[in-house]
């Protein structure tokens, strides 16, 4: 048994007291005593009874005792005695054996002070799990604590590994974890993290519950965030950060500016968004304070947090915690949307002129202009550069512009002086850790609003699915908007309890109309039975159907590579053999509806300029059809008919899509195809297929010769063909297949007529007749469709109109 001795410092006495009776437990008694003092004092003043005075003094003594107690604990709560520093790799080793307790955070010391055998890992973990930190962490990870501990014990028993870790080794590892996590002291999170590092069984159990080490770290950070939110600022702290009275008296009034702009304030729930942008806020602060005429522009895509950075700076300035030249300035956002409603350009210029003059006279204004590139790019109808120029050079006004990458680059290219007027600060999309922390922070705010808790796996799922499926907006915006939708959806569905990952999956499934999570039972059936489902609509083409089904199953079970389209096939074969019908059948079987098919006739994209119609064009300011449709329906089947007719530049675009599963539109935004099935069809080599079939050449040989022919005639390059998951050769239909298709088509017609209230009947002789009349070597199944339309459907329509059939009657078909 190994019991550690803490140094004789009051810090550790405070930790032991806190362990025995947490401070929060005395909050209510202390308030009750305070109320009793006031009451007894009142009664004593009226009655003057000495016993009441005695009681009053007792209450006062109790209150002061509670006061001293809370002051003692608060002195050390949230801190340690010495701050960790240095490289985290060597932090533990550099620590002297008896100095480690000084690096403990108060919360860690509180937990450790109640442990008898510090090498007993089970006791250690149990103590951590029983405290607020452990409850929060495991609760949010969705792991039952007792169950976890039992499993940990039994796993150790099974493997025969001793469930003990040398405590000093553990603390050294915890010190490394603390520095890695950016903590000044060793927190309970760091100690648990160290246990996870040193005890592989602990880690294995977490991984089995889909909690990776980084998830564990993110969830632990969540506790830090929650603690931070729980802190109440004291009167003194509020007094120090208040702008107070009179700081603006030496600056001018700006009534017109005040009407045409909004003050920038920080809402509750935005604190961590600001923390995540600490570096950028400092950069902005530095840029604006460089010289008296300094302005700054924040460059980044909409949604990366440019306004959050401005809010962060506004808060610092408002609290007087920025640099002296910026402190207590007013940060106001121009309401350009209102200003632009002026009827004439002259009116807009006059209004803006008045606003800027007002700001200049005031002398303490930082103006924020959103989408500034719209007002400083020559050629645009909203160009106000001439008007803005003198104010941008003024020392009495500071301007922060917010711009997109491409927009600002264009402005600078066309008007180089802009580059000299602004200090540029590039804002990139935050990384995974920052996004998860922002989502955790926002979640705490939304939990109060919607009165529901969310589990960590749900937050993780939001991050994963939003990064995979939402490609037209950056983080953190897309994550936050999904998080809000998740809370709203949980409330509207009337579900109680914590929001788990499946709620997020269901939301995405509704949003995209496709299965997203683990393969469920109904979908398993569809996948297993995919060949039969496709054969309900497609006759013959066994090889094609099998290849497609196999590829889809591979993708859905996660066996195939993830950064490619869900499936990609090149269908080669003559016209009318079922290529398009297969695509429709697949869209119906896999995505649930034929309408999930996006069809492009590639013969319409024969010129190089046609690329702009697909992915958008900056010149014509048009959005691409392909980009728009795939973004709106990422879970869909993209059919590229007659792909051989498309211009080679367009084929190059698809080369990238087939390879990487994504493309970039004319505006630099990503289009994601990883959930899209791409089918390209071509008639190339149709004659060769027919000839080889007549020569009774086997299917595999036909395919080989066909590909050779396609390469030789340079219809497609080998790299284009090789990008597809499968090249499927469709063989021409024989009379037997045409007869089967006729039956399918008549079945579909029967269904339609039944919907109108008529029955339909036919015999074998009609099918034979249709097989004869509908067979065409050149047009394949298309000829049959024409015959059925002209000879059967048209006749039925005429008869119905002539009153030959009444509703409920049976229409009998016979060869004409």
């Amino acid at each position: 048994m190994s019991t550690i001795q803490f140094p004789k410092h009051p810090f550790f006495i405070a930790a032991r007291i806190e362990r025995l009776i947490p401070l929060r437990r005395i909050a209510h008694p202390r308030n009750a005593v305070a109320a009793a003092i006031i009451f007894i004092l009142g009664v004593y003043l009226v009655s003057g009874h000495p016993a009441l005075l005695g009681f009053l003094l007792l209450m006062l003594a109790t209150f002061l005792f509670f006061y001293l107690w809370s002051q003692f604990i608060r002195m050390y709560a949230g801190r340690g005695l010495a701050i960790l520093s240095g490289d985290f790799e060597s932090a533990g080793d550099a620590m002297a054996p008896d100095e480690w307790p000084y690096y403990l955070a108060f919360s860690s010391a509180t937990i450790l002070s109640g442990i008898n055998d510090h090498d007993d890992t089970e006791e250690l973990i149990r103590n951590f799990l029983e405290r607020g930190f452990g409850k929060f962490l495991f609760g949010r990870l969705g792991i039952e604590r007792t169950e976890f501990l039992l499993e940990l014990k039994s796993k150790h028993k099974e493997t025969g590994h001793e469930f003990r870790i040398n405590f000093l080794e553990l603390i050294k590892e915890a010190a490394r974890a603390a520095l890695k996590n950016g903590h000044s002291f060793i927190t309970p999170a760091d100690i648990l993290s160290a246990i996870g590092f040193l005890d592989k069984t602990f880690l294995q159990i977490l991984i089995a519950r889909e909690v990776a080490p980084k998830d564990f770290d993110y969830a632990m950070h969540w506790f830090d965030i929650a603690e931070e939110h729980g802190k109440h600022r004291t009167f003194l702290e509020r007094l120090e950060s208040s702008p107070g009275i009179g700081k603006e008296w030496a600056f001018g009034y700006s009534p017109f500016l005040d009407r045409r702009s909004r003050e920038i304030t920080v809402r509750s729930g935005e604190e961590l968004h600001i923390l995540a942008h600490k570096k950028e806020i400092s950069a902005l602060e530095e840029a604006l304070s460089k010289d008296s005429t300094a302005n700054a522009v924040l460059i980044g895509e909409p949604g990366v947090g440019k306004m959050t950075i401005v809010k962060g700076l506004a808060r610092k300035i408002g609290e007087g915690k920025s640099v002296p030249v910026l402190n207590y300035r007013r940060v106001r956002k121009l309401a350009m949307e209102d200003i632009l409603t002026e009827k004439t350009v002259g009116g807009i210029e006059e209004t803006l002129g008045r606003i800027f003059r007002d700001a200049e006279i005031a002398g303490n204004v930082i103006l924020v202009i959103e989408d500034i590139e719209q007002y400083i790019t020559p050629g645009l109808a909203t160009n106000l550069m001439e008007l803005l120029l003198p104010f941008l050079r003024s020392s009495r006004i500071k301007i922060i512009g917010l711009a997109s990458d491409s927009g600002y680059a264009k402005s600078v290219a066309e008007h180089p002086v802009i580059g000299t007027l602004f200090h540029e600060i590039k804002i990139g999309e935050p990384d995974e850790e920052a996004v998860i922390l922002i989502l955790e922070d926002t979640a705490l705010f939304l939990e109060r609003k919607y009165k529901r808790n969310i589990l960590y796996p749900a937050i993780k799922k939001i991050y994963e699915l939003a990064s995979r499926l939402i490609t037209d907006a950056p983080f953190p915006e897309k994550g936050i908007s999904i998080l809000e939708e998740v809370f709203a959806s949980a409330r509207s569905s009337g579900e109680y309890g914590s929001i788990a990952a499946d709620v997020v999956e269901r939301l995405f499934e509704r949003k995209f109309g496709a299965k997203i999570g683990e393969v469920g039972a109904p979908e398993k059936e569809t996948l297993v039975d995919l060949e039969n489902r496709l054969h309900r609509r497609v006759v013959n083409q066994e090889e094609a159907i099998r290849a497609i089904s196999d590829a889809i199953r591979r993708k859905r079970t996660g066996i195939s590579a993830g950064s490619k389209p869900a499936g990609s096939f090149l269908f080669l074969g003559p016209t009318g053999v079922g290529k398009t019908e297969t695509a429709k059948a697949l869209a119906e079987a896999y995505f649930g509806a034929e309408e999930r098919m996006i069809r492009f006739d590639m013969s319409e994209y024969q010129a190089p300029d046609d690329l702009g119609r697909l992915i958008g064009s900056l010149e014509s300011r048009s959005a691409g059809i392909l980009a728009e449709k795939v973004r709106a329906n990422p879970f869909s089947l993209l059919l590229l008919d007659e792909v051989e007719k498309a211009h080679p530049n367009i084929l190059n675009l698809f080369l990238q899509i087939l390879d990487e599963g994504r493309a970039t539109d004319a505006y630099g935004k990503k289009i994601d195809f990883t959930n899209t099935i791409i089918i390209a069809t071509s008639n190339a080599g149709a004659e060769l297929i027919r000839r080889l079939l007549n020569e009774k050449v086997p299917y595999a040989e036909i395919k080989k010769q066909l590909l050779d022919e396609v390469f030789r005639s340079r219809v497609f390059s080998p790299e284009f063909i090789n990008r597809f998951d499968g090249v499927i050769v469709y063989v021409p239909l024989g009379r037997r297949e045409v007869r089967m298709i006729a039956e399918l088509m008549l079945g579909a017609l029967k269904k339609r007529l039944e919907g109108e209230g008529y029955g339909l009947q036919w015999g074998e002789e009609l099918l034979d007749w249709l097989a004869e009349k509908g067979y065409s070597e050149v047009f394949g199944g298309r000829e049959l469709r024409r015959v059925i339309q002209e000879r059967i459907e048209s006749q039925i329509a005429k008869d119905i109109l002539a009153g030959k059939y009444k509703k409920g009657e049976l229409i009998k078909l016979s060869p004409l």
Binding site: K8, H9, P10, I13, A14, I17, P50, A51, L53, G54, F55, L56, L57, L58, M59, L60, A61, L64, F65, L68, Q71, F72, M75, L236, L239, E240, S242, G244, I245, G246, K247, E248, W249, A250, F251, G252, Y253, G320, I361, A362, G363
Partner: protein, 128 residues
């Protein structure tokens, strides 16, 4: 054991605890001076009130000159008057917080004795 607790508590009370009480008192004074912007208002004592100033115009026009000089003087005087008032209030608040701080520090010094004293006196009065 309770004596060890008490001993270490008293050590804290008259070392770190006393230092923290002193810091609180000082911070309160600084906080009030900052809230009433005393230093800032001193620095801009005679600045025009909200920059309300009249232009003297081009050339010399006696009427305009006297109109502008009067207006600007009023603006500066009004500014100085209001600022002085706030400075006085601020200094008064800071002075009060100094007194309160000194009282608080004294109270802090005697608290470990005061608590048992109040308790014992209370018991005596209760059963007297």
């Amino acid at each position: 054991m309770p004596f060890v607790f008490l001993y270490r508590y008293l050590l804290w009370h008259y070392s770190d605890g006393l230092k923290a009480s002193f810091n609180k008192a000082v911070n309160a004074v600084i906080g009030f001076l900052n809230f009433f912007s005393v230093l800032h208002l001193f620095g801009t004592l005679f600045s025009p009130w909200h920059r309300v100033i009249e232009s003297y115009g081009r050339g010399f026009d006696a009427a305009r000159f006297f109109y502008a000089i009067t207006g600007n003087a009023i603006s500066r005087l009004l500014g100085a008057l209001l600022r002085s008032f706030v400075i006085v209030v601020g200094i008064a608040a800071a002075a009060l917080s100094v007194i309160a701080g000194v009282f608080f520090i004294f109270l802090w010094i005697f608290l470990p004795f005061l608590v048992p004293l109040l308790f014992i006196t209370g018991i005596i009065f209760l059963f007297a």
